[in-house]
């Protein structure tokens, strides 16, 4: 296995290590176990959704309805629990709810071949406004006592959430690289026509991936809801863009076919740590978003910086022709 294949992940990892190094130098308190646990708790939901988003983006599609799906699933979790269902039943039911929501998008994108950005934009509005209509903005309160932390102690509940997230991550990463289904996702993303000739239908793969995405949103919503004793009806705002940003920072090509879950993990970690890191460094955390934005743009530009080397390796042309990306930015493509 060549390391060169993972240069995009490596550059994101490099950035993350630099961030950690800076934190170690200026604010060692950042590394106390309590803070690291809080960081993991706050990013578990984003992580799960970013896993699904990686798969969706690998097929060359996109799903911007996940934030609204998350809100619906969160409220569903509250309702199921309030209806007196045992916790062990609530979790699978919420996952099924998420899969159904994802399946609607999957059917429209995969089966009817409508553009995913349009479909999921419409679904984003539909799920969120539908939920607002039904709940009238009210939060779900007076939940049974065993709802929070699944009835466990707080520390056990936290451990459970982190463990489930890690297991899902490892299983998906393994499946994506080793199972036929995982390879099919790469195949349809890099060349749908070639995949079709090889007997892989893009529509079926896309449908399955959207359903899986929905299921992961359901899982994330249920795990996240269990952290609190009441359930909000406006959760998941902006979650879709957070997940997409993490996937892209992790080096996954937005056009599909290239990327790894390893990169996504690094992307989630990098973007999810910034806010806390700023607080520990004594900088106003309101700068968080601008730094996240800058990271996305820098990740994109490093992509361009890597591009000439790709071309050079492919064509064996003179390395002296290597284009300086900074110069390119100001002079433009003249050829």
């Amino acid at each position: 296995m060549s390391l060169k294949r993972y240069k995009r992940e490596a550059s994101a990892l490099g950035a993350y290590l630099i961030l950690l190094l800076v934190m170690a130098l200026i604010a060692p308190a950042f590394f106390n176990p309590g803070n690291l646990r809080d960081l993991a708790m706050n990013n578990a939901a984003v992580m799960l959704i970013a896993i699904g988003m990686t798969l969706v983006i690998l097929t060359g599609e996109i799903d911007i309805s996940v934030g609204s799906q998350f809100a619906v699933c969160t409220v569903a979790a509250g309702w199921f629990a309030k209806a007196g269902m045992p916790v062990l039943l609530v979790l699978p039911l919420v996952i099924v709810t998420g899969s159904l929501l994802g399946g609607v998008g999957g059917a429209l994108v995969g089966r009817l071949r409508m553009p995913s950005i349009v479909v999921t934009l419409a679904l984003m509005v539909a799920w969120r406004d539908g939920l607002r209509w039904i709940t009238e903005g009210a939060w779900v309160q007076n939940l049974p006592a065993d709802f929070q932390w699944f009835g466990f102690e707080q520390s056990d509940g936290q451990f459970l959430i982190i463990a489930v997230t890690l297991i899902v991550l490892l299983v998906s990463a393994w499946a994506l690289q080793n199972l036929n289904a995982g390879r099919a996702i790469y195949a349809v993303g890099s060349d749908a026509e070639a995949a079709r000739l090889a007997g892989i239908e893009k529509r079926s793969v896309v449908f399955a991936v959207f359903v899986l995405m929905g299921a992961l949103v359901g899982l994330a919503a249920a795990l996240n809801a269990a952290r609190f004793s009441i359930v909000p009806s406006n959760g998941g705002m902006g979650l879709e863009l957070k997940a997409i940003a993490a996937v892209v920072v992790g080096g996954t090509a937005i056009t599909g076919g290239r990327g790894t879950l390893l990169g996504t993990v690094i992307g989630v970690a990098l973007l999810g740590t910034i806010g806390t890191a700023l607080t520990f460094a004594g900088i106003n955390p309101f700068w968080e978003k601008s730094i996240q934005g800058a990271i996305i743009l820098v990740a994109l530009m490093s992509e361009v910086a890597l591009r000439p080397f790709d071309r050079w390796r492919k064509n064996h042309v003179n390395p002296a022709n290597h284009v300086n990306p900074v110069k390119l930015f100001f002079t433009g493509f003249t050829g």
Binding site: V125, I254, G293
Partner: protein, 284 residues
């Protein structure tokens, strides 16, 4: 004589939905079908409408601009900051906000055309960047208000006693975009670029420059919209225009069809904005 505007079938559908919507709401709610309410609705529609108009050429070229809402927030904050803390006249602050819109638009444009990066991700990055700078500058709490009444007239005043002042800006913008897209070589080239940017390049169209201008206009429209928004609400906060990118995008997407009727599309866009405003007003 050529017909300037021909309504196509799916636009009739949209128009029908709009009429139906009006009919339902005027039966369901009191005070809906009044002149005053009709104009108040257009007041809300102007800010989204301007952004939807500017997003139209972006989408025609096959791109997207998610950063418009965040640019509104940044422009609003800079406008308020320069006026109150910078002790500048409101005219200079407005000019600065417009320049900022152009700068933000050109950042998107440069990254998309010069570096050939995917617009969805570039503008996702600037979406976060612009809003982040706005929040950082105001520490998320600053709220600029107490603007002079001449400035507030732009967002709250009535021309001739009934017509909201900002409606004129939207009408001019609709005309300008319709003319630009349908009656100029530049506008027609955008459709060619959207159809095939490589083909357009071979046809001698300076693709990069044209796409750049499209993003520039989008940034400018966001700052104009921000100025009206501030004048409308009488306050400037870093959360101005959050979610507008998706509302405007919805407006554009509802009206989207691969066709060449540019004027139709621009006009249609304003209907869709109206529909959105209705929806917001009744639901929210």
């Amino acid at each position: 004589m050529r017909r300037i505007y021909k309504i196509r079938r799916h636009e009739w559908v949209l128009l029908l939905v709009l009429v139906l919507e009006c009919a339902i709401f005027s039966v369901a709610g009191t005070n809906f079908l009044t002149t005053a309410n009709a104009f108040e609705i257009t007041r809300l529609g102007v800010e989204i409408g301007l952004i939807a108009l500017a997003l139209t050429p972006v989408i025609i070229t096959g791109g997207i601009d998610l950063s418009v809402g965040s640019m509104m927030g940044l422009a609003a904050v800079v406008l308020g900051g320069l006026w109150r803390d910078g002790q500048m006249s409101i005219a200079i602050a407005v000019c600065a906000a417009l320049l900022l819109g152009l700068a933000g638009g050109s950042l998107n444009g440069l990254l998309v055309t010069r570096l050939g990066l995917p617009p969805l991700i570039v503008t996702l990055g600037t979406f976060s960047l612009f809003r982040g700078i706005a929040e950082g500058l105001t520490r998320g709490i600053e709220n600029y208000s107490g603007f002079p009444s001449q400035f507030l007239f732009l967002g709250q005043g009535y021309a001739g006693g009934v017509i909201p002042a900002q409606l004129f800006i939207l009408v001019v913008a609709i005309g300008a975009f319709a003319w630009l897209l349908h009656r100029t070589a530049f506008g027609r080239s955008l459709y060619a670029i959207g159809y095939s940017s490589e083909g357009a390049r071979f046809a001698g169209i300076p693709v990069g420059r044209h796409v750049f201008i499209v993003y520039l206009l989008s940034g400018l429209a966001a700052s104009v919209s921000a100025i009206i928004y501030v004048a409308h609400l009488g306050q400037a906060k870093s959360d101005a225009g959050s979610g507008f990118e998706l509302m405007a995008l919805t407006a554009v997407v509802l009206a989207e069809r691969q066709s060449s009727a540019g004027v139709a599309q621009s006009l249609e866009r304003s209907w869709v904005c109206l529909r959105w405003s209705f929806f917001r007003m009744v639901c929210g």
